[in-house]
């Protein structure tokens, strides 16, 4: 079955520092990867959609300067949270879209970011 691995599972960083999180699709080709953030209040926000060989589309309130994303192949994507502050806390989810299907968005376990 389709699996999405994210690492690290949890991370703590000091305010103003940066951290990188990774996402790997196993068992399928992730033509697109959507990065979401789930707030401590459990609401979801779409950060950006990354499609191999295409420009990354950022949603309103999220920028490449703050959340740079790399998506070099069909199985791997990474995102960095630059200059993290308290408002960046949450569970960062990588959602991989399987092949050309527009129906299935599989999430990894998430990277929980805490900021001190």
């Amino acid at each position: 079955g389709a699996l999405v691995y994210q690492y690290p599972r949890r991370t703590i960083c000091k305010s103003g520092t940066s951290m990188r999180m990774e996402c790997q699709a196993v068992g399928f080709q992730a033509t697109s990867v959507a990065w979401y953030r789930q707030s401590p209040q459990k609401t979801f926000e779409l950060i950006a959609l990354s499609t191999v060989n295409s420009a990354i589309k950022y949603e309103q309130n999220f920028t490449q300067e703050k959340f740079p994303i790399s998506h070099p192949n069909l199985s791997f994507s990474s995102m960095t949270v630059l200059n993290a502050y308290l408002e960046d806390r949450g569970l960062y989810l990588c959602g991989a879209i399987q092949g050309l299907s527009n129906e299935r968005l599989f999430f990894g376990h998430g990277t929980k970011l805490s900021v001190l």
Partner: protein, 113 residues
């Protein structure tokens, strides 16, 4: 503006009962409705989904009932087990924008033994 609404916010049932989780939406363009199950500390896992061309989808103990005219759907969990205790998110997306999933705020299900 909440495009996908879920009720109740919290639900408690006894083991063996059927849990019914409700969801409604506003955007008529939504045509794909996945339900995600999330345990504390974990990411949401795709549980079951339905396309708007169907009115029912079954997968084991989980059944989605869908009413397109009323823009409502519900997730029925038959023979609820304590291991089903989790937060369930109803979500929706439209057409080719599967990645732009709009999530509800979730229903927290407690199944008592």
């Amino acid at each position: 503006q909440q495009q996908v609404r879920q009720s109740p916010q919290s639900l408690t049932v006894w083991e063996g009962e059927t849990a019914i989780l409700n969801c409604s939406y506003e955007n008529s363009a939504f045509d794909y409705f996945p339900w995600y199950q999330q345990f504390p500390g974990e990411g949401p896992a795709l549980l079951i989904s339905i396309l708007s061309v169907s009115d029912k989808k079954e997968d084991g103990r989980f059944t989605i009932f869908f009413n397109k005219r009323e823009k409502k759907l519900s997730l029925h969990i038959a023979d609820s087990q304590p291991g089903d205790s989790a937060t369930y998110f109803c979500a929706a997306s439209a057409g080719t924008n599967a990645y732009k999933v709009i999530f509800g705020k979730g229903t927290h299900l407690h199944v008592l033994p």
